[in-house]
Symmetry: C2
Subunit: 425 residues, 2 copies
């Protein structure tokens, strides 16, 4: 199957398979393509392709896709050249897959019969589905646990990539934390996201090994004003005041690493913090509505902040009720996480709901896979989480079980560029 043909055929086939989803989109007023249209290439169509190259990596301010597969790799080679080669191969494969093509130039089914295919095949017939693949480098890629410079990169370790402190109440599991390289694949079809991660793992065989991976079934953040605020597994709207793609000045200020920040290889990049937050939903579900709303600081139905009437109303810190207490409780999540409570700190959140089977204690293993991009975690995630960990009443219902920190370099500029080129230069 040639590349060009595969995609047109793919979209025609995919149509029948997921035809029923039509209604949702139509009601939303999205642009509708006819079968005679060319392959979609705009980012605003959930089946189309998101451009891979650019000043910044895609998948950060790209309107949050519906599904996630995140993976953290350990680098298992000591050979810097092999690592660089893999990053070049990965970049080329990501450029292909985000365009809706097979991971390799031969493809899943067109190779010689005696060789393994250079694509695994499960995304044949599927459209690009808005796939983005975003890469970051963990602190352990620069120095190992003994402080040893593994690949001659220690001099380029960003100060902002300082290991996160231990927060009050942390119950982190080492096996699902950290990692030398993190890869976020987001798409509107989970099979497309899984296919992307799997093929990077396949390409990286012998160089990297899967340390942990996480599927997210539903986005919990909007990263564009065109998106409706979704709900997390507490049943509340989440991320109402998230940073949005339409706010370039705020993004410059809070998300993108500026040239003066250093190191040079990170200019235009961003730092990603991941936290797997187990939610004790069974306990939450037994708590009264008023208590839930007090803990969050918003109305469950409308999402309006306490004392206000609309989701997007400004937070009211000061009004007090008949009991003399603030309408927005002092220990509410909204108050504690608000920029005004954190010296203006803001994050671009990009989390996903997860359910990973059961916990062996008769409960669903469910929660939020929190991801947030920022210019410097030391002045963003760290102070906010320190405040939340110490004071948030929500802590009774959540457990942080995994933590990750990754320096995501800027976008690749074209076919000759690759993820980390400036880092390894």
């Amino acid at each position: 199957m040639s590349e060009a043909v595969s995609r047109r055929r793919a979209i025609a086939l995919a149509g029948a398979g997921v035809a029923g989803i039509a209604g949702v989109a139509a009601i939303g007023g999205a642009a509708i393509r006819s079968a005679a249209d060319e392959e979609p290439t705009t980012a605003d169509s959930a089946i189309g392709a998101v451009p891979f190259t650019g000043e910044h990596q895609a998948g950060i301010i790209t309107p949050a896709q519906d599904r996630l597969h995140f993976v953290a790799f350990d680098v298992i080679t000591k050979d810097r050249d092999r690592l660089v080669s893999m990053l070049k191969e990965w970049t080329a494969a990501a450029a292909r897959m985000t365009a809706g093509k097979d991971a390799g130039p031969i493809g899943a089914v067109n190779g010689i019969a005696e060789a393994p295919p250079d694509d695994t095949g499960e995304a044949l017939d599927l459209p690009p589905a808005g796939l983005t693949i975003t890469v970051g480098f963990g602190p352990t890629l620069f120095r190992d646990a003994n402080g040893k410079d593994r690949f001659g990169l220690a001099g380029k370790l960003p100060a902002a990539l300082a290991p996160l402190p231990k927060f009050t109440g942390d119950t982190l599991e080492d096996a699902i934390s950290g990692g030398d390289i993190g890869v976020q694949a987001c798409a509107n079809d989970p099979q497309v996201a899984v296919h992307a991660i799997r093929n990077l793992a396949r390409i990286g065989m012998g160089v990297v090994s899967v340390r942990w991976s996480q599927l997210g079934f539903g986005r919990t953040s909007s990263t564009s004003k065109a998106q409706v605020t979704p709900r997390n597994l507490f049943g509340f709207k989440d991320g109402t005041r998230n940073l949005k793609a339409e706010e370039p000045e705020l993004l410059r200020q809070h998300v993108w690493v500026q040239p003066a920040d250093g190191p040079a290889w990170m200019a235009g990049g961003s730092y990603l913090v991941t936290r797997k937050v187990r939610m004790l939903v069974e306990t939450w579900d037994r708590s009264p509505l008023a208590e839930q709303e007090m803990i969050i600081g918003r109305k469950k139905g409308s999402g309006a902040p306490a004392g206000r009437s609309d989701e997007f109303d400004e937070v009211d810190f000061d009004s007090v009720g008949a009991d003399g207490e603030p309408l927005l409780a002092k220990t509410s999540h909204v108050r504690l996480a608000h920029p005004d409570s954190n010296k203006g700190a803001r994050l671009l959140r990009r989390g996903y709901n997860f359910v990973d089977g059961s916990d062996g204690l008769g409960r669903l293993n469910a929660g939020l896979f929190f991801m947030a991009y920022q210019r410097d975690p030391r002045t963003a995630f760290v102070p906010v989480q320190r405040s939340l960990a110490a004071n948030d009443e929500m802590n009774e219902y959540v457990r942080h079980v995994s933590s990750g920190l990754f320096a995501c370099p800027p976008g690749v500029s074209g076919p000759d560029d690759f993820w980390g080129r400036a880092l390894f230069a």
Copy 2:
């Protein structure tokens, strides 16, 4: 939020959130609704509601939805009346949720502030999304491990619910196998499926406890001729010759328990076998294309059976190649699983792809959550799996890690009926 209002508002809101999915559906030629339309209620729309009542439970021959949340519960009460009460509550909640309503009559946000809501809220704003909830009873509900009749049901234990034999190569984990009650929630939005299971668990608190649960992100079976055959994580089309909703005579013969089969409470029901099949995809991905195709017995691209040209061509058992060997290898999955190799045995498959993080050994924990409905496992799943377990070359790449068996009663007839009424009568 009133029920009627919540759904209309819901759909309008949901539209913007997933607007991008529009293209897929439009290309597929699905009917498009305008915002002025009434709430959709037809099963052929992925956002609409599937009727809950009927001769058979929905979710068996319903065109397979895209996403799955399956749960197996242990019954932790000894009180038969409490169990029956819960089944009545579950049935009422399922009728509501499959219609796109909150799980309880008060709802997530309209109760009194001092009481826990009777819905968890994460599906507020979401359409019905084709949700089906299908219930089955496991052998251990009738007799415990010591043979004790737990709820006075032992006399009604169907012979067809005999425990599955151990198959060659089985590596089953007890903690994620079995269960007293199994519930399959399928929907085209995973948040809707998760919401359904979570609310049943919430309602069942003190009566049942989550034994294991499984998310499936992508269907691997078509159960309607209107659906495109999807691909499993081996990259192959799966379920080409599955039983289909459009084949009532075959369904009568192979899926629905007939009155003469006994016991009476199962007439119109079906037996569900679940198998979590871990796929060693990293090993598979290193095997040559020709070997993959020989093991499956189909072309990877087209899905055509060996020696044929089209996916839906009849399987050719007899033609031999230049080497004198059958084109369809004797150990191929297609040959071994074919009805002609199994005294005509056929199953209605309804499987889903899964990825559950990593396996701790540097690999993705990925595979197929196999589900199949049948009139009698003793003459369907058991002989087919026995043959596959002994001879299928695919066994080098798969591990069965979980197994479940559930007697799914017929559908409920209306508001006064409930799941298992005839069983507990």
